[in-house]
Amino acid sequence: PFQRVENLTNEEIFRFGRQLVTPGFGLESQLKLRTKSFLIVGAGGLGSPAALYLGAGGVGRLGIVDQDTVDINNLHRQVIHTEDRCGVNKAVSAAMTIKAIYPKADVVPYAYTLDRTNALELIRQYDIIIDATDNIATRYLLSDACVLLGKPCVSGSALRNDGQLTIYNYNNGPCFRCLHPVPPPASAVGKCVDNGVLGVGKLKLVPGVIGILQALEAIKVALGSPALNDPSFLIFSAMSNPMFRTMKLRGRKKECAICGDNPTMTELIDYVQFCNGSANDKTVDETIL
């Protein structure tokens, strides 16, 4: 189990805060990071930069979950992996890169699929959860598990040239289910909308932008930043000007089935069934550029 420390070592101070002559708020903040554990679910396009920056940044413990193996045609945007690790589990590969940057990093790879049978047990061990997955069923699973365990869930998503970022179940803000009590029709998820559309070249960088912002938001949660006092939802459109739009988001809904005042859900459910098939319908990976 993760052991919380009382102080930074001199080596950590040197590495993460050497330039700060007076040990003021900066070192306290670094210590807050050091005493927190982060779980990234997904080591693909979103999880790669999130893991790189959190892992290199001196957090207490970083868990990384992914059942997939590194594939040559993911490397262009999953930049934590390398070509000679094709076939290696992505969580393991991500941990290797982090160790090369910071050998003393406490990184734990989990080379399996998170599902209703194992999610609670794993999430319980971490303070801050980062949803870097790629399908709606797992998004419901993670949000529900975070509600049941009282953990904040930093959620990022990306498709084509668009990305979205928000924090669920934090500071009296909404959970995923508050926003989406009912899953969208399977036909609206993933490929169907895309058919036949010749858009501008799809930008591989979109998950990268959202993933690094997920790391930032997770750190702000760890620090208790007042910038997170009001729930908000960041909308990124890589090919628009302006690229970013921030939406003021609803709070927790009293009538929410899981985080509401009288929840009807008290345990995890079958999310594939709940999402009515759109679960397995993973986002079509037709990104190019």
């Binding site: 997904g42 693909g44 396009g45 979103l46 999880g47 870097a132 997955t133 790629d134 399908n135 709606i136 998004r139 990022g156 998503s157 990306a158 498709l159 084509r160 668009d162 990305g163 979205q164 926003l179 989406h180 009590p181 009912v182 899953p183 969208p184 029709p185 036909s187 609206a188 998820v189 993933g190 169907c192 909308v193 895309d194 559309v197 858009g199 998950p207 939802f233 909308i235 459109s237 628009s240 739009r245 921030t246 939406m247 003021k248 988001l249 609803r250 986002t283």
Partner: protein, 103 residues
């Protein structure tokens, strides 16, 4: 004023339902056919009936937007306004955004 200027934007893939055009500026009557102030629901029906020829079910389900679409009224979640009953004002910016699940 008998006509409102409403800026409508589609995002997160919604624009693919509208010839891949994100931003639309509409002239919209300030009163609906019942003589009441025009609401967001009137706007949604107008969009469905005049701006779409197919796949209408990817925008509207029953009397509201389909599950998975967030609506922003001047950059604020419509749940913080009056949702469908919100009375449109001149120069409002209404964004329909499909929530994404990819990674």
């Amino acid at each position: 004023m008998s006509e409102l200027t409403i800026n409508v934007e589609f995002s997160g893939g919604m624009e693919l339902l509208f010839q891949n055009v994100s931003k639309h500026t509409l002239k919209f009557p300030s009163k609906n056919e019942n003589g009441n102030p025009s609401t967001l629901q009137d706007l949604i029906f107008y969009i469905r009936d005049t701006m779409m020829t197919e796949k209408k079910d990817l925008f509207v389900e029953k009397d509201t937007v389909r599950p998975g679409i967030l609506v922003l009224i001047n950059n604020t979640d419509w749940e913080l306004c009056d949702e469908l009953e919100y009375e449109l004002e001149d120069k409002d910016e209404i964004v329909f955004i499909s929530t994404l699940h990819g990674g």
